[in-house]
């Protein structure tokens, strides 16, 4: 992160472990990082290294064992479940590996879903949804159900759903993991555009080095410890 830039995500001494019966399995230990506004960060690491766990903690869908996570100056580790849910609806856009669209809702309705929790009028919601679908170039497929779309198109709908509330950060967990090469390229292009043109802060977990190279910076997570990619500027 450039020194003059205020971090949008500030993580300090975060640890997380899981229980398996009587055993405690540490996943993250004493993690501290800053992520700047408008950053496009790729988190890499082997399976079980804790990268998805870290992403979940940043997105407020899991709880830390210790440490603090501030997003936009707000410490989300102090929030109750209800506060956290409300915060997520306003500040976080999610992109998942398996798209996770609701199969009985059309593309339009899937994108509209997060707006249900906002106070926008019907007209405003419609405007937001159409804009988001236009950004992902799927305006003409808005009445299609997920099963009528290709994997790449479903992921673009998921991206539209992630950006429709204009969130503070977008978190993406293996967004190209279930796509063919061409669709993966399209999705990464789209995420790149969102970052460069709309200054969206994106944190992406990936196994794929080609996907990671599209990010502005890469962090490696191994055995719960973060390290910088050799060819990236260290924080």
């Amino acid at each position: 992160m450039p020194p003059e830039q205020e971090p949008i995500v500030r993580i300090r001494r975060v640890s997380k472990s899981y229980r398996s019966g009587s055993r405690v399995l540490p996943v993250l230990e004493d993690i501290s990082i800053d992520i700047g506004q408008g950053e496009f960060l790729a988190l890499m690491g082997p399976s079980g290294s804790g990268k998805s766990t870290l992403l979940n903690l940043i997105a407020g869908i899991d709880r830390t064992d210790g440490g603090t996570i501030e997003i936009g100056g707000i410490d989300i580790t102090k929030m109750s479940e209800t506060e956290l849910a409300e915060w997520r609806s306003l500040h976080v856009g999610f992109i998942f590996q398996f798209y996770n669209l609701i199969p009985v809702l059309t593309a339009y309705e899937n994108v509209e879903l997060p707006l249900y929790l906002t106070g926008l009028s019907r007209m405003e919601k419609s405007e937001h949804v159409r804009t988001a679908l236009a950004v992902v170039k799927l305006k003409d497929r808005m009445d299609h159900y997920p099963a009528q779309l290709s994997g790449g198109e479903q992921q673009r709908v998921a991206i539209a759903r992630a950006i429709v509330t204009d969130p503070t950060i977008i978190v993406a967990d293996e967004p190209t993991g279930d796509l063919d090469r061409k669709s993966a390229q399209d999705v990464l292009d789209l995420m790149g555009r969102l970052n460069s043109e709309s200054r969206k802060t994106i944190i992406m977990v990936t196994h794929d080095p080609r996907a990671a190279r599209r990010a502005r910076s890469i962090l490696y997570l191994e055995k719960g410890v973060l390290s910088h990619a050799p060819d990236q500027t260290p924080f």
Partner: protein
């Protein structure tokens, strides 16, 4: 609106076959429940339609033993008694034993006065009262056998042997749907005259007295006075309200009623099992989706509403269909089983019970799925999708 659309789509579009089968299961269960409840209400209909100002006096030993006609004047003199009528169970058979219907020899003028719920057109009533061989029949009974006014109807006597010819002089209607329209009333005098000729020991004997009193409050006192009057006589009496008299009959079949009530409860439990099974499968399959909704910021309340709403929607759909089918099927029941159930109408109370049962089942079936969905941690749910 979006959530309502999602609710409907979840309920009916996800697994169409499963939805159809579940709705069908609830429909059949509600239909069975409604019919069983209707049997129970029909059973108690006599109690419901009995008047608190009518008393029944019968032989203290048993209803099959008669009472002397001479009691009439004595009963009439008891304070509070307004009107005294009487009659006998005739037990006649029309053509075949399976054509069973209730037939009574009654003193017609007082009997019709005591039972204003039997609506007889004035001309028919006059014609009936004038003709000793005349009879009146309920509309359903007349329709069942295609009788027209003026037709001669022959009954084969079982208690009073021989063939008895009667002329249909009038058709009565019930004041409301719960009044039995399958009865046959003729002149007690006609019976008595014939008995006088053939079996003199049965003449001037009646099966029961029906007594109209001035107010319900004096029923106990009047009953006691009447019974005291005939104490230590050759034919002691027992007098009770019409309601108690009918309840006495029903008590003989109490075990059947209890069994039917238990079966109707079992039916409700079966619906609950069907809906609970569907809801359990549904929520298990949608664990990932609930996690997504939670991830997007939807609270537990919305998730609970989606599950409860779906359970309610499926159950109420089946309930409405079941109720809609109950009416024609109860009608068909009434037609084919008119011998046993002269009145077989679906009461509003039964429909209300159907709805209450459906709502209770919907909520009970959704309780555990809702609890599981609320307990679900988002990160854990998302891992299950992966």
């Amino acid at each position: 609106m979006l959530l309502i659309r999602l609710l409907f789509k979840n309920a009916f579009l996800r697994h169409k076959l499963r939805s159809v089968l579940t709705v069908l299961g609830v429909t059949i269960a509600i239909l069975a429940f409604g019919l069983l409840r209707t049997v129970i209400t029909t059973w108690y209909l006599g109690v419901e339609t009995s008047s608190p100002t009518r008393l029944v006096t019968r032989n203290n030993v048993s209803i099959i033993f008669p009472l002397p006609l001479s009691y009439r004047e004595k009963i009439r003199q008891v304070e509070g008694v307004k009107i005294v009528s009487y009659g006998s169970w005739f037990g006649g058979v029309y053509k075949d034993k399976k054509n069973f219907f209730a037939n009574f020899a009654v003193e017609p003028r007082t009997y019709l006065e005591l039972y204003p719920e039997f609506i007889v057109p004035p001309d028919d009533k006059e014609a009936f009262l004038r003709d000793r061989r005349g009879f009146i029949a309920g509309k359903k009974l007349a329709d069942r056998f295609g009788w027209k006014k003026g037709d001669i109807v022959t009954l084969e006597g079982t208690i009073y042997p021989g063939k008895w010819d009667f002329i249909l002089r009038g058709i009565y209607r019930g004041r409301d749907l719960n009044i039995d329209e399958t009865q046959f009333f003729f002149h007690w005098d006609y019976l008595n005259e014939s008995v006088l000729k053939s079996k003199i020991s049965l003449s001037d004997q009646v099966g029961f007295y029906m007594i109209g009193i001035s107010s319900p409050g004096i029923s106990a006192q009047v009953s006691q006075e009447i019974d005291a009057m005939f104490k230590n006589s050759a034919a002691e009496t027992i007098t009770e309200t019409e309601k108690a008299f009918v309840q006495g009959f029903i008590a003989m079949s109490e075990a059947i009623i209890v069994a039917i009530q238990l079966v109707s409860l079992v039916v409700i439990l079966i619906i609950m099992a069907v809906v609970a099974n569907t809801m359990a499968m549904t929520t298990r399959e949608r664990t990932g989706e609930y996690s997504i909704l939670k991830t997007l910021g939807f609270g537990g309340g919305v998730i609970a509403l989606l599950i409860m709403g779906e359970s309610l929607l499926v159950t109420l759909s089946g309930c409405i269909l079941g109720i809609a089918l109950t009416y024609p099927i109860a009608g068909a029941f009434g037609t084919y089983l008119g011998t046993y159930f002269p009145v077989f109408n679906v009461e509003n109370e039964t429909v209300l019970l159907d709805f209450i049962a459906a709502v209770l089942v919907a909520f009970a079936a959704a309780v555990i799925p809702v609890r599981n969905a609320l307990k679900l941690r988002v990160a854990e749910g998302l891992r299950r999708i992966g």
